[in-house]
Amino acid sequence: MKIIFFKNYKIMAALLLMAGLTSACKQLIEVPANPPTQIAGSQQFSDSATIMTAVAGIYSYTSPGLGFTYNDANLTLCTGLSSDEIASTNAGNAADQEFYTYSLTALNTNIIPLWEHPYTGIYPVNAILTGITGNKAIPDAFRTQLTGELKVVRAFYYFNLVNLFGGVPVVTSTDYKTSSRLPRTSVDSVYGRIITDLTDAQKALTANYPSSGRIRPNLYTALALLAKVQLYRQNWQAAYDAAGVVINSGMYSLETDLNNVFVDGSNEAIWQIPATGNYSVTQEALKFVPYSGSIPGYLLTTALMNAFEANDQRFQKWVGNTTVDNGSGNQTYYFPYKYKDLTPSGATEDYMILRLGELYLIRAEAAAHLGNLTVALADLDLIRSRAGLTASTAVTVDEVMTAVIHERQTELFTEWGNRWYDLKRTGTAGTVLSAEKSGWQPRDTLYPLPRAQLQINNLLQQNPGYN
């Protein structure tokens, strides 16, 4: 029967040829080097213009993990609920209510973006820093500028992380094999990295913003953030000096009309990110401005309402109110109203990250601690007078310090977690908040790490008091 095989050897040969052709042929499975929607890392860093697309990604406020990652107003909401600023009228929203009532668990869904998104944002920062280091395709000045501004960005991410969670893993490279297994570090070493980054940035940056608007940090952005960080670290002199440079730069001035503070082009802005989402409206406006006839989703707490002195213009212009018949008569409800514009695709407001108003208060606080009450009161009164209030009556160092903290409460409410951070760094969170609501426990100054993260990286330690 072998004969049959051999008789047909030509056919067999053809057959084998065909099989050979179709199989081992590399050409048959060749696909373009990259899909039309994507480019490889090497292409991303091939020239300045392409690098700028990655840089634009850093400041875009669109997708989770991009921009400043708190693009769902989550930082404002969570810290506002944890402190004494706002409360949710939706008793069924466990994710919100756990913050308000100090019953946070590691499964809380709002915790997840607070932890994960900054790291998603830090990765491209590290990737660009790696991609431009030693890159011969770009001019030195461009590299220096980018290095400086991106380090400001990275410092800001870590500043929020360390204030929300305590010591966190510090990732400065794109090597995922190493970075995914890093344990937490101490608060001091996170701050060490922040101050190093800001100091590097200070050396690299100039007074000019590298592009129009105040989106990409300049020297004063770095200094403004450094002033804030040094204030938190209680390095009063350093905070005082850095804030002073920014204030005296002459580039910024307080907006006299409070309604103009948060709009695009505000002269008070030191760092402002465009609201470039689908609707180009700010998430804060979406969350806080109520539907007509409905009780707002978030109300200003009585504590914050009472913190405003009579005739405080900020209460008039930054706090909204709506009067609703709740079934037992008309009732007026108050809600945060710094961001107001809900015009689809045409909103005029930008997210304000750092502004001159805060810098005056930073310098005032630092000056008070340094015993320089003249500067402290002068700075404080600038803010007060803009709000339509008379000069502060504080006299002693303690009184001035208390007055500044109080002014921060009414000036910086529902902005980037300021109130929550202030209560924690001044050590008053426990006393202030347990007087305000029940449930406070010492553990509550730090948020828990998301449980899934502890499970994936078993070197991460949960904050004390959380399971």
């Binding site: 056919i11 179709t22 990604g57 875009s60 470039t276 079934g327 009732q331 502890l454």
Partner: protein
Amino acid sequence: MRIQGFTKTLLVMKLTGIILIATMLQVSASGTAQTVTYAAQATPLTKVFAAIEQQTGYVFFYNSRDLQGITPVTVELKATPLRDALQNVLAGQPLAFDIQGNTIVITRIEKEMSQEKDTIRAFRGHVHDSLGHPLAGASVTIKGTRKGTNTNARGEFAFKNLPDDAVLIISYTGYSNKEIRPDPNFIMYIVLQRSEEVLDATVIQAYGTTSRRFNVGSIATVDAETIAKQPVTNVLLALQGQAPGLAINATSGVPGSRVQLQIRGQNTLLSNPGFAQFRPYDQPLFIIDGVPFAPQNKNISQLSSLASSSFSGDINQAGGISPFNNINPGDIESISILKDADATSIYGTQGSNGVILITTKKGKPGKTNFNLAVNTGFNTSTRTIKLMNTPQYLQMRKDAFAADGVTPSNDPFDFFAYAPDLLVFDQNKYTDWQKVIFGKTSNNTDVHASLSGGTLNNTFLISTGYTRSDFNYPGNFADQRFTLHAAIHHTSADNHLTVDFGTDYGYEQNNSSAFGGARNVLLPPNTPDLRDPAGNLLWNYKGADLSGYQFYGYLKQSAILQNYNLNNTLRITYKILPGLSIGANLGYSRNTTSEHGTNPAAAQNPSYPYVTADFNTNAFQTINVEPQIDYVTNIGKGVLSALVGGTYKKNTNNSNTTTGTGYANDNFLGSINGASSISSYDNLDIYKYSAGFGRLKYVYDQKYIVSLTGRRDGSSYFGPGHQFGNFGSVGLGWIFSEEKAFQSAIRFISFAKLSGNYGTTGSDGIASYKYQDFWQPVNNAAPVQGIHPNSPVNLYNPDYSWALKKSLNLALDLGFFHDRLLVNATFYRGRESSQLAGYPLAAQAGFPGVLENINSTVQNQGWEFSLTSNNIKTKSITWTTNFNISINRNKLISFPNLESSSYNSFYVVGKPTSVVLGYKFKGLNPATGLFEYYTGDGHVTTNPRSGIATAGGDYVPIADREVQFMGGFGNTLTYKHFSLYAFFQFSKQTAPNWLSTVYSSYIPVLRARNLPVAAANYWKQPGDQTPLQKLTSSYFSDTYTSAGNFGSSSGAFSDDTYMRLKTLSISYTLPDAMLRKLHIQDGRIYVNAQNLLTFTNYKVADPETFNDFAAFPLQRTVAFGLSFNF
């Protein structure tokens, strides 16, 4: 001749080629005797045939070439029986006839053979199938002896010496045995009939056909008849319980929603676990008529709709719309489920999760036949949950406040006491939301018509179908389908060239509401009116914001999906030499979806509506070219069949999404033109695959079987240097019932086969370009200072390659009592290593994961048993039974350094991959009313620590989600004109129970949401022993803490065993007398029902879509139908 053949070969190779097609001819036997009265003088044979056709209704089949040179005939027939008449007509002609049902096949007796004369004892024969194709390798044995021979490639055989009284038994796979008494004076032309025996019925396998008798791989088949009895619109649902080893899960009861399939367990590990990530569910490879189905079993929808519900415990049930909606079940001839290495290793890197081969219907030669089937039916929910009424609900809410000593308040400043449902809403209002949302009885209509027929060499089939399934949901939502199927077959006059062309076109429109509405069954029963009498939506009630309650808003948000499916296949085979054919299989499959979703102002709170419209398209395309060479020859007493081929495949998936916002008027929402702002993005994916493969099968003496398959594969999914791989399998079979010793010893066993195979398959089931560090423009992002932002999308890991699965399959097949009872027992073991998965990374790395081969081995091992029995077979009564059960055991058998990997809290070596780690539940403490859990060291607490023991936590393995066993059994009873089919499907596993839903998603009372009546059984006072613990209205109570831990505890899992009367089909065949009056060939009236009854210990929700009792329920369908053949 040989040279000529070779030249032809090359020619055909260029064009493409061939495949040996075993055309199936199944003709029903007609019982009535026929006579012929006819006289003719020197009349051409064709005229005589025509006359006989007219008189008898029988149809002649012949190649006109065969009639060339035939002398005209002169006959005179008077009421002569057909058979005698034909003998008369063909007397002296070199033609033979054979009657197949109502078909008369005329074939020419080979000239050289008919002229040859042999010695008295010598005998020659010629074995053909009913279409005149020679059957090579048919076995011819002398009855009572072991002597015999096989036919050659021309179907010829010869004996030199035969005993005078010899009886020859001719047998061939898939055909009934035939006994003949050789007459040395004639060269006998023996036609073998297609067997209707289960054992010899054609089984579609990879690149060809086989039979249960000679197959050594594990293939389960579901035929058209079984599918036809089930009133389902998605053919995948018709497979449920029908094939051992095949698990089917409906993701939802929404018409058009996806169905998930899995063959022999889960092989791969979890990818990128995050908070909302569920364990993956491996899907097999889907091939329709030889062409990989372009969308496979992916969700074709990008819009949120009612079908996009997505969870069931922690197994990924990613919903969406199924591409299989557009395949009409009425157009399917059979579905083969390939499970082991022998069956699947020929698919190389794609076969490791098994393969589903779908074969569509082809035309059959014979009288042109028109079939019309119409049915209409209604749908209702399988299991509706019973929810609390207003007094029960209000009592529960009040008790919750009371438990914490809180007085409900209507002041929103009183944050925790604020309860508008208790103080603002009407306390006497009652709406049964279950009834409002799922209470409707919806309609189903299905019409299917087909026209088929043709001559021996040219057959055709055209069929068309229309199906409409209304949603069991308020509003005018429906899934509609229109399909067109056609198949043509041509064989050249010399029988050398065969061409098969098949085409399927399907259009589907799924008109659905936006996602989110279904869960509103849990709205408080005293929810205020959400619409005013004019039908306008109301957004607040005495200040209470109703945005979270506005069910009717979802109804105004549309999600319209239109899917266009085209499958084309062309198979060309050219027979170069007897036994050797060359051919090609060409396929094109394209599935395009275009979607339109709107969020009109009318659906939104008028304060500041964001009016949007989405326009999405999603197109999957496969081009498939497979040249092939088949060779069949006899070697000794055996038959060798060889197959060599190659594959080139290119898949593309292009999708794009365009969103328009800022419409001034809702009426513009149908177009993008009215949008004041447009954002758009697209996604392109390409996959190329090529392979060379071969299969060698040798069946010796109809007893011993050896099967070898091999494949070399290349896949563009992998980085340079990792693209190619080799796969193969060895299969052995021994039909020991053919052994004389066995036959004489055990008479009641008519068939016995032991078979086994071992081999490898791979898996490249990933997306393209995952090995590079890519950056891409951010979807939908606005430019930042004129620059479109880019962001990184992938981490760099060029080293991964396919996952490798090694499988072993051992099977014992037994036939008892002349094969009336067939039993199969199979043991299998599959071990997949280097799983290809997105290795989870901690968020700090910047990405949730990176694609890697994971150094671990997952084993799926199990048993499958099936039984087919013809219990009764008499003239008026037949009773057949089918039964199958499969038992799969999944186990992670190795995972070095699991403890320090990202999987440390998800897997345990030695446990199934569906293991759940959590707290061991102690139960309710009747004194405190709180749930209690065990800590790792055996203490009892309400608040255990999360994490595994080595991380200082209290996690232990608390459950696994493996299906312990599953299967189905069906009985078909026919009595005269009546036929009854009842099919039960059953399954047992551990599943999240309804309490897990209560405590994870709808924590009692903290939300103003209704719950099932069963939830009213909560703890009220010391001593109560209840399924629910103490209620609470506050977040800082121990009650809240212990409630929060419940979802991670063993208390959240329960046994989920059910048996479902999946299908009940009753039909009545119209009697002949009536049919004749109506001029109908055959007619049937039937009632088919799906999901009619359920027996289960699973509480509250449906045992199939467990866990979320508020999800869109599965549907019970009852359809009444008529089917006619004209």
